[in-house]
Symmetry: C2
Subunit: 216 residues, 2 copies
């Protein structure tokens, strides 16, 4: 077995592969909690809702191969995925918008992953700034550029109303951020150098409600 | 202009259309807050990241047409989308799993939409049951079937660890639930009569982190 940081050409690692590696890691953590030491590609495939061939292809992107007799070593595979997905020094995110949604996001990510944490939150409401919220320091929005630069923050999370999302994204990008997770229900117009992911919890629940009613 | 409940053949209303109607409604609420009374299809299209033709097609699915000179009446359009997406009596959801994520979800949806609310939460931890969490009563998981039936709950939200998600989904479906929003990082195996939407916040942030680093 091998476990190494591999220089894979960018074009060969798709968004879907990165998404599945993130999923595998969490499934493997669950297996570890159940004291499972090894897992076969077909077992991991069932958990992840894919095929064994796809699991093996994804692991090859990591430069990791299992043993035909014992499958993958769970702990070593978690480590390999970590080497691939994380940086040794970790990456930090800044959250903008400390309303209900922002607080929920802070509560969810708080302490979850040392290599990927929310290092600062920002709001324009001075009642929310100057203190810790779920362990995260909250600053006035006009300090965003300074704090992002001082603390080496690379990622942004947007949790403001739709009407403010684009201007917050522009601020973040001006401060040097190149990856944004956008919870505001609005598409962002950004340069192709900035990667944006969208999450819309209200839309998801409204779709569930509509299609549940139709018996679909 | 007209505003009516329309019997549209199911096949003609796609998941994407429902998602866009949910998005339009929230964008229209923001316009209302800015005291905008009317909006043209091309203006709404820019906000939603689509085309004016698509906006007009989506509105036709509602049976709603704007005026060529003034565009859509914002308030009436919100009302029309509500008639289409909501039921008059509202729909209720049950949340299972009151850990960090579950609490975050309760905080986010609390009081947000009268026609679509989380009416009950469930957990196996007796420290969490028997009280209100963000205004939502929390019950022991073994009461799920009884409470769902008594309170007319139609939707389920899963916020348990991956290893428990399928058994929770099975319990929900046995209790009569036909729509599930799954926050657990695992695919669910359900009958085609059950509609499932997935949200994976960790995966989304890990993708942002990876691609931000690649400069993509």
């Amino acid at each position: 077995m091998q476990s190494q940081r591999q220089k894979t050409p960018l074009s060969s690692v798709s968004q879907k592969t990165i998404g599945r590696l993130s999923l595998y890691r969490r499934l493997l953590h669950d297996l570890l909690l159940e004291n499972k030491k090894n897992v076969y590609s077909h077992q991991l495939a069932i958990l992840a809702g894919g095929t064994a061939a796809q699991v093996r292809r994804d692991m090859m992107a990591l430069g990791y191969t299992g043993s035909p007799s014992k499958g993958y070593d769970v702990e070593k595979l978690i480590e390999s995925i970590g080497i691939f997905l994380d940086t040794p020094e970790g990456q930090k995110a800044a959250l903008v918008g400390v309303g209900n949604l922002g607080r929920a996001i802070l509560a969810f990510f708080s302490g979850r992953r040392p290599k990927l944490s929310i290092a600062a939150a920002f709001d324009s409401d001075t009642n929310k700034t100057g203190r810790l919220i779920h362990g995260c320091p909250c600053f006035p929005i006009h300090d965003l550029k300074k704090i992002i630069s001082e603390r080496g923050i690379e990622l942004g999370i947007i949790a403001v109303p739709a009407g403010d999302a684009q201007s917050v994204a522009d601020l973040m990008i001006e401060a040097g951020i190149r990856g944004i997770l956008n919870f505001a229900p609005v598409p962002l117009h950004v340069s192709h150098k900035v990667h944006v992911e969208y999450i819309d919890m209200t839309m998801a629940l409204e779709k569930v409600a509509y299609f549940a009613r139709q018996g679909l």
